[in-house]
């Protein structure tokens, strides 16, 4: 279970508070969506969950399976099952996708006391999962994300997610830049990972993704905290009314 308690986050180098008392719980087996206007702090929440530098937690805590993770390095959190599909995935020149996937998969397996994948095992699994995500195997021989289209980057993120078998999946605007076919492929990939052992937090600005990845709960983030929580119908309501109710001055 993911428990975010009264989380206050400011930028490290600036006197700017972004999250101001955010509280949220995602039990295993559930998919929660976070929706909110641009600039409301959705990506900040995702980054803070993953442990990116540059943010300061001034109050509150994040518990994953009952254990506080806010002092942990990003790789330690990854070993504990935290995965972030980035809104803007980084390019890694010179490192082939396959090498990256294998290094990452074996790094987390090692830290989870699992045996490393042999080359044939690894290739078999990658081929299978890549095919399901409509990823051309040849693409994996190219350097990670270098020259990838927006859609290719997002599909590659989901492939990484599938390979690393995380227990907490955070997807930051995975739908942005996808056409309707790609959206379907990516959603199928995510849905295939839904399981009673996994918690998922799907961050999106638009309702359309949630037609494909149907959430158990929808939360509206604005002014640094969760303003409303509802079922999947809340997303539809936002689709018609927009974020106008939430973009005014803080309540």
């Amino acid at each position: 279970m993911l428990e975010i308690k009264n989380l206050h986050v400011k930028l490290e180098d600036e006197d700017k508070a972004i999250l101001k008392g955010l509280t949220l719980t995602v039990p295993k087996g559930e998919v929660h969506a976070i929706m909110g206007p641009n600039g409301s702090g959705k990506s900040t929440l995702a980054y803070v969950l993953a442990g990116r530098e540059g943010y300061e937690i001034t109050d509150g805590d994040i518990l994953w399976n009952g254990e506080s993770i806010i002092e942990m390095e990003p790789d330690e959190r990854a070993a504990k099952g935290v995965f972030l599909a980035f809104q803007y995935p980084m390019e890694i020149p010179g490192v082939a996708g396959l090498t990256f996937l294998r290094t990452a998969a074996n790094a987390v397996r090692k830290r989870r006391d699992m045996a490393e994948l042999s080359t044939p095992e690894f290739l078999k699994v990658v081929k299978e999962k890549a095919a399901k995500l409509n990823i051309d195997f040849e693409m994996l021989k190219r350097p990670v994300n270098v020259g990838f289209s927006g859609g290719e980057k997002k599909r590659s993120e989901i492939l990484q997610m599938a390979m690393l078998e995380p227990s907490l999946c955070v997807l930051d605007e995975t739908d942005s830049g996808l056409d309707i076919d790609a959206l379907k492929v990516v959603s199928d990939g995510v849905n295939a990972l839904r399981s009673p052992d996994r918690a998922m937090l799907v961050i999106t600005h638009y309702q359309r993704l949630l037609n494909h990845i149907v959430p158990d709960k929808v939360h509206v983030l604005a002014h640094g905290r969760i303003q409303r929580t509802g079922g999947k119908e809340l997303a539809l309501e936002l689709e018609t009314s927009g974020y106008a109710d939430y973009t005014g001055k803080a309540a």
Binding site: P74, F86, G94, V108, R111
Partner: protein, 491 residues
């Protein structure tokens, strides 16, 4: 990926003492008095029992050197070197005259063991199984060669592999014919200095049609304080011959800077091929930039014959200052020159390195792949010249210079010069600069890699195509070395 894993493991082990070759060995030495004058040149020549022509050659070089000034065009800065405050000759007392392995001072053997250099003839480089090819080693300590292994076995194939001092005694006609024929005495300031006072180095002659039966390597070690190292290497591959040669270098950690000014000359005759690899790991100085080797080296290969080929591969991780441009003179028609380089700089290291490809013959080709990695406060410059002579019709060159920056306090620079005096020359140049950013590291860490693993992954990806050029025997060691050199470059 096992290689990455290995790099990381190695990095972790050497957490405290990054530079594992930094120890000193207490060996009784014979030295010439400090400073440089004609008497010192005579002293060195006499110590080595050289013929009169060699002394004259040295004195000529010395006089030319006196008339020259230190070059200042490289992008390196350092306090002026006081050439009068150095020792120009230092040799272990026990090593006067050639020795076989069992006569070598046990203290010396222990030192080489600690350095991981195999002097036992039945052994080979650490980590390599015994069914792999063997490596013959010439071990040069300060000013002299202490031992050369596998000499007899090589002699059976007709290959001469010995110290240059021994070659001067045993094969003077060969030395006289080729010494200075690629790098003339007055070629540049440091080459002139080297020509005057060089004390030892390796000599290789591979006769016509012979493929050298094993890897040859020279291991250079500076041990003495305040002593310059000036070695001279001369390699000749006669018609249709092939040789692969590797040089390695280390030095103790010291607060003061030490001078190393070597000259390497390669001559490839018709259809011959020389592959010359360097893993340079001189002491780079401490994290504040104190101490370290000043490395001013002239390396040049002459593709003198038709269809000859010379290939330089270098991995430069050490030295406080590196000034080094292994070059090829493509004189023979259809000859080919290659330069593959990985230059890693960290701390306050300054690297100014690159190559020259001088196309003189017809249908000559050259290829330059340079990878500069700068971390810490270091400066890393690629400087290269590709030129085609008027008569060099059909000359072709491909150059790719890539720089990788780690952190934002270091610098990478590319200075390519191109001179085509011939309209049929076809030169291509590509250059890229990339950076290992915090975001890139975070991305990798989010996928479960530690910070060191992330750096090792990115760096290994960056240098892969050059590493592939190294002889197999040295690949794993070198990969580790690059990892170690970048230790502490992030976080």
């Amino acid at each position: 990926m096992p290689a990455v894993q290995e790099t990381v493991e190695q990095v972790k082990k050497i957490d405290v003492d990054q530079y594992k070759y930094g120890f000193e060995t207490d060996i009784e030495m014979v030295k010439a008095p400090k400073g440089l004058n004609e008497d010192i040149v005579r002293f060195i020549s006499e110590k080595k029992g050289e013929p009169a022509w060699m002394l004259d050659w040295r004195l000529d070089a010395y006089r030319r050197w006196r008339a020259m000034t230190e070059p200042t065009w490289a992008k390196v800065s350092y306090p002026k070197i006081d050439f009068e405050d150095l020792y120009y000759y230092a040799a272990p007392k026990s090593t006067e005259g050639p020795k076989s392995l069992d006569e070598v001072d046990p203290e010396l053997l222990r030192m080489y063991e600690r350095l991981g250099v195999p002097l036992q003839e039945q052994e080979i480089l650490a980590g390599v199984k015994s069914d792999k090819p063997r490596v013959a080693v010439d071990a040069v300590l300060d000013s002299v060669s202490v031992v050369t292994t596998f000499k007899e076995e090589l002699a059976k194939a007709g290959v001469i592999f010995c110290s240059i001092s021994e070659a001067l005694r045993e094969h003077p006609e060969l030395v006289k014919k080729y010494l200075g024929s690629v790098v003339p005495q007055s070629d540049n300031y440091y080459a002139a200095l080297n020509s005057a006072v060089f004390s030892d180095g390796s000599f290789v002659y591979v006769p016509e049609g012979v493929r050298c039966p094993m890897e040859l390597s020279t291991y250079f070690r500076i041990n003495e304080r305040e002593t310059g190292q000036f070695e001279r290497t001369l390699i000749i591959a006669d018609k249709g011959a092939y040789v692969s040669y590797l040089e390695g270098c280390t030095a103790p950690m010291r607060d003061e800077n030490q001078l190393h000014a070597a000259v390497v000359e390669l001559v490839a005759l018709d259809d011959a091929e020389i592959k010359y690899s360097t893993v340079q790991n001189w002491y780079p100085g401490d994290k504040n930039g104190k101490g370290g080797i000043y490395n001013f080296v002239t390396k040049r290969g002459d593709c003198r014959g038709r269809n000859s080929k010379i290939s330089w591969t270098q991995v430069e991780t050490g030295s406080a200052i590196t000034w080094k441009y292994p070059s090829c003179i493509l004189r023979g028609d259809n000859s080919r020159g290659e330069f593959y380089s990985i230059a890693v700089s960290n701390g306050y290291q300054q690297v100014d390195s690159g190559t020259k490809m001088i196309h003189l013959g017809k249908n000559t080709s050259s290829r330059i792949i340079s990878k500069g990695i700068a971390a810490g406060f270091s400066q890393n410059t690629y400087r290269g010249l590709v030129s085609a002579h008027r008569k060099a019709t059909g000359a072709r060159n491909f150059t790719a210079c890539d720089s990788l920056l780690i952190g934002d306090k270091c610098g990478a620079h590319t200075v390519p010069y191109i001179e085509a005096k011939n309209s049929s020359a076809h030169f291509e140049h590509e250059a890229t600069t990339s950076k290992i950013s915090d975001d890139m590291l975070f991305y990798c860490q989010q996928r479960g890699l530690s910070e060191e693993e992330a750096v090792a992954l990115v760096v290994n990806g960056f240098v892969r195509d050059v590493l592939q050029q190294l002889p197999m025997e040295f690949l794993a060691e070198t990969q580790k070395l690059i990892g170690i050199s970048l230790e502490g470059s992030v976080g």
